[in-house]
Subunit: 198 residues, 2 copies
Amino acid sequence: MATPTPTRHRKRGHDPESVLSIAVGVFNERGYDGTSMEDLARALGVTKSAIYYHVPGKEQLLARALDRALDGLFELMADERAASGPAIERLEWVVRQSVRILVDRLPYVTLLLRVRGNSGTEQAALERRWEFDRFIGRLVIEAAAEGGIRPDVDPALVTRLLFGAVTSISEWYQPARGASADDLADALLKMAFGGLRV
Amino acid sequence: MATPTPTRHRKRGHDPESVLSIAVGVFNERGYDGTSMEDLARALGVTKSAIYYHVPGKEQLLARALDRALDGLFELMADERAASGPAIERLEWVVRQSVRILVDRLPYVTLLLRVRGNSGTEQAALERRWEFDRFIGRLVIEAAAEGGIRPDVDPALVTRLLFGAVTSISEWYQPARGASADDLADALLKMAFGGLRV
């Protein structure tokens, strides 16, 4: 055993993407406020001083992680399919795409959903999240005005409940169990738009 | 100003109910793990030593608070209306009552929904919560078997999404804004059982 073996962190060779991905896992497990730079260094398998080579600070990682979730939602809002056609159909499309983003970017969206506005970074993320919420709210109102949605429900409550079901997915979804983003979206769209009753 | 005025905590005269209610508010604001007996004493307006007159410890308060939420759900499960009649109608009744319990006991249910099993008390509460979840799951399966629910949805996903919408209420509901438990339940039942599409 005279040949020197590479140390664990050299073998791993972190790039910005793997640093971000590992950090988000730690944030979700310990809570962002409960995570120290030392915790991040340990999870990355690097020394406490080497972590600063990878990232200037915790809040910069948080900002990048939250953008990863929010950029997905903002691309969705800017999509042509969210802009033209009957509002009820756009709403169904937006629900399906929201579920897909949540599943594809699960740890990032989970982190976003826990943000309470405790710093400038969190506040900025919350404001982008609220912009998305308002976009959905307008779409539901539009669908009701066009007669695509039953008139006897409060659009504001429907928006909250519908996206309450979407965001709940981050609490219980286990990718390994087999349901795909499309399975989830199908079940939600059938329940919320078609209704469960036969 | 020679007359002695009563101190704040004497005026308040805490009974077990007000101690519990104030403690739950602190737990929800700071997180249970982030709350010290000193935080509780401050919120109650008593000295750190006087708090032990009111309550032996933090975990005992947690247990009582979680029982307050869980007892509501267990009474619901034991109710005659959850036991007889078509499963689809029992399911609708259970959804409505769940929303009512959530609204009536909002801070207690909010606390319950954040429990992750970090102690024996939390583990016991989670087990009771899972018993309720299984009860709902069986009811959805029964409704599907009786032909009351559309056959082309996975009952397990429906259970999660439907109660995802219910539990989301604890995240956004503001009692002062005017919607009652019945308004919330009406909107949810219309959406999930009747469907949004006209």
